[in-house]
Symmetry: C2
Subunit: 128 residues, 2 copies
DNA sequence: GTCTTATTGAGAATGATACACAATTTTTCA
DNA sequence: TGAAAAATTGTGTATCATTCTCAATAAGAC
């Protein structure tokens, strides 16, 4: 799990900067209960309710940044917009099953699926 | 693999109709070589080049319809828009591996992954 | 503290997809 | 066979998520 300081360290390593907005966003996802996913809009509203106003532009920018960094996962949950969740490492990692007809969505854990993906990525020369 | 007549039968079964546009779209995907995926825009251009003009609205409508029917698969390939391919049944069914950083995309086959999905769906009471 | 440069916020722009509606086809059935 | 009913199409427009632009601000380096 990412702490504020490890986020800062990793940002600086890449020539980027820590900001109060980035810290706030990280905290929201860390405190989000299992199985919940937030869209950019969801996050914006949630922060407004908490009295922490961050512009929608900044939210979009940082959700994308933190996804590329591997801190968040960007999900396509059949609702026409992206959702995000914290990117948990292996024992807590989960998959999503989404019905293409009614959009019913669930989470499940399965090591074989995870390993197949990792093994295939390695075999195909994926670099990251 | 869907034939023109089985598409017609299945459409009529649901109170829908066969049209030349639907037949044309089905044929394009049937003749598409393995590993290729088309966006709505791609399909529109490809049809124009073949002299078969179908409006973009009709293309969007029918790509969605045929996906809900299970004839096509709607793919989120990290390019900001949807792609489609024919939905091959089990022995030919494949998965996509997409790098979240560089968007490298490959196809691979794996029965275990397929079965895990199916089993999980059944256990969770997915209806279709 | 100052300097450099990344980041933010506000608003405008973009782009994929959905929608509205009149004209046209399919299908049904008398 | 030929209306009548209903689904589908094409054109144009609307919507909505996301990105872009740019001036103002703030983080990090020295
Ligand atoms: Mn999840
Ligand atoms: Mn494919
Ligand atoms: Zn379903
Ligand atoms: Zn990559």
């Amino acid at each position: 799990m990412y702490s504020t300081s490890s986020l800062k360290a990793e940002l600086n390593e890449r020539g980027w900067r820590m900001t109060p907005q980035r810290e706030t966003i990280l905290q929201v996802f860390q405190n989000l209960s299992e199985g919940k996913h937030l869209s950019a809009e969801d996050l914006h509203i949630l922060l407004n309710e908490q009295g922490e106003v961050i512009s929608l532009s900044t939210i979009y920018r940082n959700l994308k940044l933190m996804s590329r960094m591997g801190i968040l996962r960007e999900l396509e949950l059949a609702e026409g917009h992206k959702h995000y969740e914290i990117n948990q490492p292996s024992p807590h990692h989960h998959h999503h099953l989404i019905c293409v007809r009614c959009n019913k969505t669930i989470e499940f854990r399965n090591d074989a699926v995870l390993k197949t993906g990792a093994k295939t990525a390695q075999k195909e020369g994926y670099h990251c």
